[in-house]
Chain length 271, copies 6
């Protein structure tokens, strides 16, 4: 086997248990899908814990996790691999998907709808019972390692029609819907990550809910759990809560002057 | 002959008989077309068995099968081949179509309408009585091996006008129309693949029919047989059927909240 | 002279007389244009015999025929040639047009309107009395061999305005209009190619005429002679004519359910 | 001086006097502009003699003529030059414009409005009193040879607004307007080139005028002098004039069935 | 470690204290975010001091500052790095982001909304608690140095909807809003930089306020502090203030004749 | 220092005093801006003397002038530099901007609004007090030579909104507005360059004013001083003034038949 193909899996392993609070039965569903080699799609808003969930499952199953942030310019070659010139000869270098397929990693394609069509199509033969990756440039059919698992995610809230998944892609995945955690769980998460007092964390979660109710009325998306953690950390360092919320929540989620004013009034109510 | 041209056909052969339940006379038609060197077009919805049919025919005729998933960025070079630099010289590497033409394989172009115009045009001289592939970059006319056979597929249900095949391409193919299998056959397939009880499988097929009736009213496509198999596998592992259907069917085929609610109600009716 | 420039003309010669039934005086016009070095444009629907006509003329004049299927991505370099890297140096490789110009071949640009503007422009100096091909990348003006002849074709029936030829290109060609052969000639062609009984062939031609009358009312193009030959071959192998026509004619030319139903009714009338 | 820069001018010289009938004072204007180093723009319809005029002026002044047919994909590098890899090193190769600038040729940019903006901009420093060509990739300012002369042409009749020349380009050129030759001159040209009887040539010119009156009413452009010569040659070879006009004029300039019918009626009137 | 990876940090250090007048608590917020590894977004109009603020913070913390001006064509490779060919082998060269991640620099992405989607996406894993940069082409996960800090900026005033940040990017940053300095501070800045009399500087600031009130009524943006400094420098050199303001303010911010006239009248009022 | 970086400045120096007639205080403003390192923007119509002004200032200050004609396809690499392959290794080659920055030249970006966004953005750090050019591909921050000066120009008359400069670019430049010279100065310029009698030159300027009044009513731009010089040269050689004006003015600035007729009538009035 070519040396290029061996990765140092160590760096892709999650060594410490990530802090993760399950919301429903997402862990069970994922485990079953993994056992049955069924690809999984995670749907839900920004910063609600999809990435953390994948880290948790990777740690739990002790399988390396390879995450690819998808975008408009991600080509098939970026995923599958390409030839490089080394010492006057071409050497093949695996892309992250091929690395995952070959080494039995969990491959997580984040924000899959941002990717170009060729990216979504290249995973098709991996997602049915063939479980192969055609490496056309190598003229090779790579069978997936038994441990290989494919997951992908997107946020259905702000996808335009043109960026929808093709049915022929969708119908290869079962889907787990994510949402923001329940209020008490979310406050516990913010507290755990920022060490801010539980009471203050509850106020932050209350504020977050107010912003989430504005979605569609001037806001594209409400404050994520991640933003609450940022803000809580600023408060923990001694910043006034009102100011921290303006920097960490209001100004972070909108540029619109009227919406910003409304958010500032909400902050004044809570803190 | 150049070493680059010899493929290890072994990996393209289907060694075990794929499970395939014929719906009508598609096997006979395919056999006749194969004998007469007439290219074949398979039309039908996602996940209704077109790929499985090709695997079955490949196994039946003991001819290697080379499948290409077409997409927006698939170029002629991806199909036909390209020059690579090796040891300070350029070496030609056959693409999957050329490999199929040279070695007498069945070449299956999946979702052909996704391909760019140059892809569809490059097959023209292979699809009439010339049966040649012009390798322009080699300055060579490659005559097809007698065993070479060209098939392609697409889903007429969700093609936009701009993605229609050009008449000059269409008129080189006879067409076999595929649809979802009859209810009893579909239930048998799901049972065979998931080992779920026949009765449960019949319920799943009933649910699938309900979703297929929604096509055009909020759904782009109904649940495929493949999704039913996924869902059946989850139930087989002990998941509650109602929950499995929500993950494996409803949430997998729509992001629209209203349609999802309607599908959940259907699931509540069936399970 | 550089070795790269010598082609093995043998493979471009048509060795056996192609079966061709002239419809009008197209052979005479072509011969005169050839003698006068006037480029020729063939216009007509898909599969009515333009390519076969070119093969026949190539065989008749014993001049090699180089056919290029034009498409959106065909660049000037694809036609004229490009540099390749060989043993640390660049080597020029003629494209098919340059090969034809240098070796006195008939060059046939099929579906010229699909090509990009640069393709149509590069032929301009070959199409007036200069008869030269500027090889800009070689810094060379290549005079055409006396036997070189340029022809091109397109289907005026389904060209959009944007894909029209530029007047400065059109006005360098005389034009021969092709249409489907007369009924008795078309039946004879189908009979000759499929060995199906003359009577059955006449029925097929009758059906083809019915489809051609639908053009503009749901069909982009009627059934071509080539499709009739395909269908006749299926019937010859023992397939029921009605079924063969559905696969080989109706389903092959439309995806529209209503049009398909109408075509099936026509087939039921004829067979 | 680098060997790459020396061209064999011989092939760019016009050795025999081209047949050219002046229409007005275009020869005098061109000669004055040449003497004053003023760039010249030729405007006029397709096939009215602009290219022939350039060949005549090239022959008259015994200066080599380098013609570039412009198109959408013509890049600055195509005009100016590029680096090639030869024996593991890069070698610069002049493009046609640089060759002309260096060697004192007449450079003729045919259909300049088809070129991309970068093409038209690269000629700016050549078109004012600087008369230099910046070879940015060589880091060199190339002064034009005293004999270098720049001309360009386009057809104002069918340019869309988007393809107009930029004022900053236009205002560097004086303009000579071309039109079809006067009737008697055009008949003489057709006679001279085809050896068809003068009377027949006059009929052809009469027909051409009828088509030119249709411009804007179904025709984008009337029959050019070049098409008349083609048609006259067919008649000279013994073809019936009526048939030759249909192939060489009517079908060559339109695809529209109604316009074609009208043109055929015109032909029936004249011949 | 590869030599390519070591940068001469010296040139990225800010050695002399930049002149910076804080407007509010932006320094405190930035320091807290830096301590908590929270990425920071600076929002505000052109030339109001965002870049100067970053230089000041870089000097204050004695961390090298790497600034990237974002634009439409900035690719992931421009940020992350690419392979170069050196002595017949490929050598990896870090891009500015990778250099910053590896060496613990402050990375400042100026006008981030101008960048393509792939640029904004590549920073995602750096902006949550993973703090890693996947170097896909090296097959490596680069952990950020503890001193690495990511900031970015844009001007919310003239962003079109299409150029908005994606929520999944926004929600990784806390936001500091910048505006023009208060009048007395702005006059002091202009005085400090130009040595123009404080009184004249106050007049310039008064003029700037008049232009800023025109935003939305013919002006896209008012005069920046930077333009005032330019103008003050011209006046310091003995230019008449009225003329200097026309060149340095009015004509610099508009091409519209009416708006220019209005601005000239304002200038006549002030000077 | 790398040999590639040393340019032969000699060819970029203006050795003879260019003929330039100042219109207002543009020379003083430019000199002050140069002394204060403030970048300068020249605005004004085609052919009114912006380029000549730059040549004059270059000669006056004895600093080499590097002019770049901007266009749609001008990339950052074209300005900044790129790697070339030489003898199996990559060698960096400075682009014209880098050459100017390194060697203390005046860099003049002509028609800057034609350039792509990345071009305008790359100059930002050169245009504030940083005065550095980040050479990202070299991983180097190049400080500008004290003599380096950046100027750019465009014609505000025919810029579309999409091609406007970004405010963040504009606000780094002071602006000098150019217009056509006063009548007597313009006549003197035409006389000086063409040696045509002063009286005739005055007539030409009168004609030019008539065309400039038509701008917006059929003409995109009036006749430039440059066109008058061309026309005057033709008249000097003995051409009839009326004819020379038609070629050199009317037909050069319009293709529209009605506008051309109107211009011809104007010419008949003047000559």
């Amino acid at each position: 086997m070519n040396k290029q193909h061996i990765i140092n899996n160590a760096e892709y392993f999650i060594h410490d248990e990530p802090y993760y609070e399950p919301s429903a039965n997402e862990v069970d569903i994922f485990n079953s899908a993994l056992a049955e080699n069924i690809p999984v799609l995670l749907k839900g808003p920004t910063g609600c814990g999809k990435t953390r969930f994948m880290e948790y499952m990777s740690w739990y199953h002790k399988r390396p996790l390879i995450t690819v942030s998808c975008h408009d310019d991600l080509s098939t070659s970026d995923l599958v691999g390409r030839y490089l010139i080394k010492d006057n000869s071409t050497v093949w270098q695996d892309g992250p998907l091929t690395t995952a397929v070959r080494n039995g990693c969990i491959c997580y394609l984040d924000e899959i709808v941002e990717a170009r069509k060729d990216t979504t199509v290249v995973i098709h033969p991996l997602c049915d019972d063939r479980r192969i990756l055609p490496l056309e440039k190598l003229g090779e059919l790579l069978p997936a390692s038994p441990d290989f698992c494919l997951t992908m995610s997107y946020n259905p809230g702000y996808q335009s029609a043109v960026k929808d998944l093709k049915p022929s892609t969708r119908q290869r995945f079962i889907s787990i819907d994510f949402s923001y955690p329940a209020e008490n769980i979310e406050a516990a998460i913010v507290h755990q990550e920022s060490k801010l007092s539980m009471q203050q964390c509850e106020h932050l979660v209350k504020l977050a809910h107010m912003t989430r109710n504005l979605v569609g009325n001037g806001l594209e998306e409400g404050a994520s759990t991640r933003l609450l953690v940022h803000t809580a950390k600023l408060i923990s360092r001694g910043f006034e809560a009102n100011l921290a919320c303006k920097c960490g929540v209001a100004n972070a989620i909108t540029d619109d002057e009227e919406t910003k004013k409304l958010l500032h009034e909400m902050i004044d109510t809570v803190f």
